[in-house]
Structure formats: C-alpha cells, structure tokens
Amino acid sequence: MSEFAAVARGVTKRFGRTLALDDVGIEIRAGESHALVGRNGAGKSTLVSVLTGMQVPDAGEVSFFGEPAPPVADSAAWRRHVACVYQKSTVVPDLSVAENLFINRQDLGGGLIRWKKLRAEASALLETYDVAVNPDALVSTLTVEQRQLVEIARALSIGSRFVILDEPTAQLDGPAIERLFDRMRSLQDKGVTFLFISHHLQEVYEVCQTVTVYRDARHIVTAPVAEMSKPDLIEAMTGEAGGLNVPSGDDRPSSDETVLAVSSLSGDHFSDITLLATRGEVIGLAGSASSGKHEFAETIYGLRKPSAGAVSVDGSPVRGGDVPAALQAGIGCVPRDRHHQGLVLDLSIAENATMSTAGAFVWPSAQRSAGSNAIDSYDVKAAGPDQPVSDLSGGNQQKVVMARALAGDPSVLVLINPTAGVDVKSKESLLGVVDAQARRGKAAIVVSDELDDLRVCDRVLVLFHGRVVREFGRGWRDQELISAIEGLSSE
C-alpha cells in the first residue's frame, strides 16, 4: 500500500503532430479529492485516458496504490483500479439499472443469469451507496444526476477506490451539484479518492483539497487548494496575471430603439412572457433547468413552435417555429448544446461557420476565406478553415458556433449557454464578442446559469416554472440572484 492512490510520472503522449502531454505527472494522495484544472486543450482529457487505460502513453509510467498499472489489454484489471464517470454516459440506456450495474457480469459468477438475484444484488448495492433509484427502471428514464450516481456505484462495486469525475457538474443544476458534493465528501470519508475535473473554479474550492494545473500539455503546479487564491489559479491556467477579465459593459451606450419585441409568448414549459430589447441591450435569462428559460429562447429562434403570442424584429413579425424565417428576420442563435445542435463535427470550420448564410452557390474559395475570417475574428485556435471541427477543443468549437450565429449579421442574438464547457480564456473571448456585438447595436439574450455570463448583461430576468419572477438591473449580488434562481426569493 502506498499513500498515493494514483501516480503518473513523465507521461508523454503525441497524436500525430500534436503533443497532447509533455512529460507531465500527477500524484493523487489516497483519500483526497484532487482537482485537475486547465484550459481546453491543456491535456486533461488525455491524462484521463492514460489514467484509465484507454490510451498507452508514448513514455512515462502510471501506478495505483504503489502497484504498476496493468497492461492496456487487460481492461478488467484497469477497472478494478480506477473508474471514470465521463460527461458522456457510459451506461446502456435501454437496459435496466440493475443490469447496467452488473453489466458483463450479470451472472454474478454463476454462469447463468438469475434475474431475481441480480435485482436483489442491485438493490443492495444501491442501498449501500444510498442511491434512491429503482433497479428495474430503464437507465434512459433516469435524470443526469441519477445516472451519474449509478455510474459511481457501479465503479465502486467493481472494487475501484479511485474515481475520476470528468466535468460531472456540467449538466447538473445547483441543488444537484450540492448533493453530488455531499456524496463525494461522505465517500471520501470512507476512503474513496477522487480526481475531479471542472471548469468551475468555485467548485474546486468547495470540494477539493489539492489542485493540479495543466497548461499547453505541461504540468504547471500542484498545491493545496487552501494555498491557491482564485487569481493565482487563473494565472496558472492562462499564464497571464489577473482574474477572469469579462467586460461588464456598464459603459455600453444605451438606446431606446426597440429591436426585439416578444409579446405574451407562451410555449413548451413557459407562458405569457413579454420582453422588449433595445439596440445594444444585453438581457440575461436565468433560472433552474426546469424554469423554461431554454424553451423560451429556442422559441424565439424558431426551434420550437409557440402556442400563443408573437415575436417581432424591427417591427416586423417573425413566423413562429420556423428557423429560416427567424434567420431571415435577423435573429442569430447559439443553440443549447454544441454537439447536439451546434455543429456538424465531420465538416470543416468554414462549412460550419457559413452553414446558415451560404448563398445558393457555395464557392469553396469564398467559403474558405469566410472560414479564415471567422478564425481571425473570433480567435479560433485552428490549423486552418478546412480543419474539421471535431479536431478542435471545446472552447474553439464554441467559437465556431458563435461565428455561425453571427455570420448573417443578425440584429438579435439568442445565446443559450454560450460558455458551457469552455475554459476561462475562451469564456473571456466569447463574452468579449457579446459585448462588442452589443456595442455595435445588436440586442442579445443570454440564457445561462453562470454568473460570469450574466455579468455582461444590462438586466437579468429570472424565470421560475415558466414565468418571469424577478428582474435585476446591474449590480446584483451573487447571493440574491442565486436565491431567486432557486425560487427562494422573498420580495
């Protein structure tokens, strides 16, 4: 036994011309929650795949509790040492929770599958880890939170005492995140070690004891969380002094010319919302995942059909439920999830960026130069406009989605989770784009849970169960906004 649950030393990994990890290491003390932070492309994901045996490093060694890591072919042995809960689900959606918990060992060592016993074992396992899920339920019916807990329980049942959580909070709302953290703390008390990856630095301070920072494929620093201030941490991640530099835009010129008028709009999960946005105004929409804010924004852009009410841009009405009509009217949109709705991953940057605006004829040279323009204007780190977007890191992919939304020079921008899953530097640059576009006279609607995104807004509307319940001008305090989002507001 060693005091370290996992140690990697001198790990180097190359993908073609790209150096993904450059002689890095990490030492994760048994029983602690260790944070791994870094910008997109810093090498976090590659380290995770090396630590979980999905990739063989070109150089370097990995050990668990003092034992050298098993050969890569022996995936069963890896699973006994380490488990990983990815952002993407690794459970089979159409099988029951019980079967997923014991997937590929459903016979429990008996040769034949005895379903009754399997169910009983699953119930016992869920009870041990205090997971309130019916073992007969299909995994596809679970919430993201429940699904993660099932994955964690499965990992622990295999015998692993070291769990990697790769951006577990990205798809959870506030209370669910708190419950996850409580669970992490209690498992930690039972001796489970966590490697925690997140873009939300606040979470690192909340739940971790040690933090390791990677930047540009290299190890920058490892230190106790208590000794790292937030600006220091951001400096280590970006290589530049100073904290998150988001333009607040208090000095943005205001105008009283209305661009976007939404009158008593109702639709899926929201009803009777009226909203006027003037040129240069940025309006934030906050609320929990079930507040209807996403649905409201998607209805403005025509991704959903309204059941009542109207949207107009510059005084002319926009046909509901019709994306081309919305584009024509001058509404641009960054959709909720870039993988699901934002990008065609196999196509090039140029093609993705021009998808909404191409004329009837598409000349490759014109498309390429539009792609190069997008790369320059939005600071996309890429080899060139022909590169498929699947090659890009999350932050750069999101910039391509932003480029697409802005390609037709719309007068209204609808930005849904515009900085989801992107690193600090990309966040700065994306929010900078929002501010700059507002200064050019566009109206923008920013739908987000992240306070940093909302700081760029002139006012923030809080939705609760499909209705606007509070409105904040500039200068709101974090605490009052959060409690309004959670529905605790008492006026």
């Binding site: 991704l303 959709p335 065609v344 196999d346 998808m355 009837a360 323009n373 320059d376 020079d409």
Partner: protein, 338 residues
Amino acid sequence: MTKAMTPQVAAPAPAEKQKFRLARYQDLALVPVIILLLVIGAVLSPIFLTANNLIAVLTQQSELSLLVLGQAMILIVGKMDLSLESTVGLAPALAVALIIPSSAGGLDVGLAAWLALPLCILIGVAIGGLNGFLILKVGLSGFMVTLGMLTMLRGLQLAITEGKSLIDVPESFLYLGSTTWLGLPAAVWICVVCYAVGIFVLKYLRAGRSLYAIGGNSEAARAAGIRVDRVVWTVLIIGSVLAVIAGILMTGRLGSVAATQGEGMIFQVFAAAVIGGISLQGGKGTLFGALSGVLMLGLVEQILRLQGVSGFYIKASYGAVIILALIVTRFATGQKQE
C-alpha cells in the same frame, strides 16, 4: 440595422500555403485500384483493353451507376432506400401496362404511347414521395418502410403482369436505352451528365451541402436554418426518379420489361456505395467516390466473365469480390467502414 455591415474584421488571413493533405484526395483512393484492374484485365485477356469491351463495361454499369447515385445521396443525407431495385422494374412495367392492350399483357387503359416516359417518371416521383411521407411525416423506420416497399412494389409488378415479361414496349420508351450518341450508348452519356450534375450540386450548391449537414447532425442542420424534412424528401424523390431512369435504360437495352427487372441489384448498389467511401451512417462520402466504386465492381465482373468463370460460380465469385473490394478499400483509404 444596416445589413451590409460585416461582423468580421475584414482582414483575410495571409494566404497560407495549402499543405498537401491526404484527406483531400481520399476521393481518388480507388483510382489506382481501377488502373490496376485495367492492367490485370489486359494481361489476362487480349481483348480487355479494346474500345468495344470497355464500352460494354460502361454500358452494363450505367444502370447500376444511376441507382448508386441515388442511393449515395440518400445515404449521405442519413437515410437508406431499399426499394430502389423494385422501382427499376415496377415503374416501366406499370407505365407500359397502362398503354398496351390486355392481349399484350397490359391493363387495357389505352393511354397514348408518348405518355410512357413522363408517366414512368411520375410513378418514380410518387414512390419516392410516398417513402418520404411514411418516413418523415408518419415517423416510421426508413429501413423497414423501404423494405416493405421493396416487396410490395415487386409484388405489384408481378400482379400487373401476371409474372410475364412485357414485350410490346412503345418505341419511344426503348429509344434511350438502345441508341448511341457520338459513338457511345446514350445510357453512358446520361450517366455522365447525371454524375456531373450531382457532383457539382453536392460540392457547389448550398442545397447540396445541406445533405452533408443533415447526415452529419440533423439537429445542428435544423438549428442552422436548413429545412431538413424538405431536403430529405426531395432526395428520396430524386433517388426514386434515378431508379426509374435506370429502369427505362434497362428496358431499352433489353427490349422488354422482365418481371424480375432490377431484382437483386440493391446489394450491388450498397456494395458500390460503401466501396466508394459512402458511410452508411450518413454525412460522409462523395459521388465521385461512389462512381469509382461502380467502375471497380464493373471491371472485376468483366474480368471474371472474360475468364469464363462458370455460371454456377459467378455469383459466389461476385460476392467474394465485393468483400475483397471492401477490404482493399478499407486499407486504400485507411478508414474504418461503419
């Protein structure tokens, strides 16, 4: 709001030297294989490289190539249409049957002979449109709908013709499949034109590029303002019409509509498309690639035929060749086929 304002800082990137990238030339991956086959054919048989033989290969493949063109577009947009091979038979049979008298196996409707071609095309539009309706509007599985159509259309043809070949085909209907223009069969010209148009549309028209966007990620395509259902529906109809044209050419070449016209072609269609680099998952592949897949299969078939492979073995060898071709393509392009 002045729409003319460009949102970008208008400073085009310094003209980077385009580096040689293999991915760009993936389209051409089969060209060396085709050349190799020509060489092998020439070595094995003295008549292989003669104009007559090569024209024969092209003519034989012209009908298949039109089906592959349609199927390739349907696959790129992320769907599949198994019923194409039945359309090849049913559309000409029905059109002809509506014209000829019952004494010749017709339906005694007695429409004018010149209507044969337009009628046939219309039947194709109807079949593609019906497939599209069932898949897109009713929300059925495309695979199952077109599998059902495959059987139903073939059965319909048998019912109309009582299993017999239609021999009394109007002259206007036979023309395209039997004539030659500028020394080449009209069928070959038609294929060349269809492929040229297809390649141009899929590369240079927004409508064509939308096929890739839809096949790659239909939700993203929708969010980008592409009318997904409309495009898919159109592609299904175009696919059916191409199958009809293939049927017309085949009828003209053989002089009659056989009850089994087109039967079994769908397997070759898929083989040629996949060999040509079209992904069955949608969003990937080019029509040029698909065309080279067709040519590769045609050359192999002709080599086997000239070698006098016994009729009993030709089917088995053909199947083996398809698998072999897939293996060759797998390594020539370095890509896994999904």
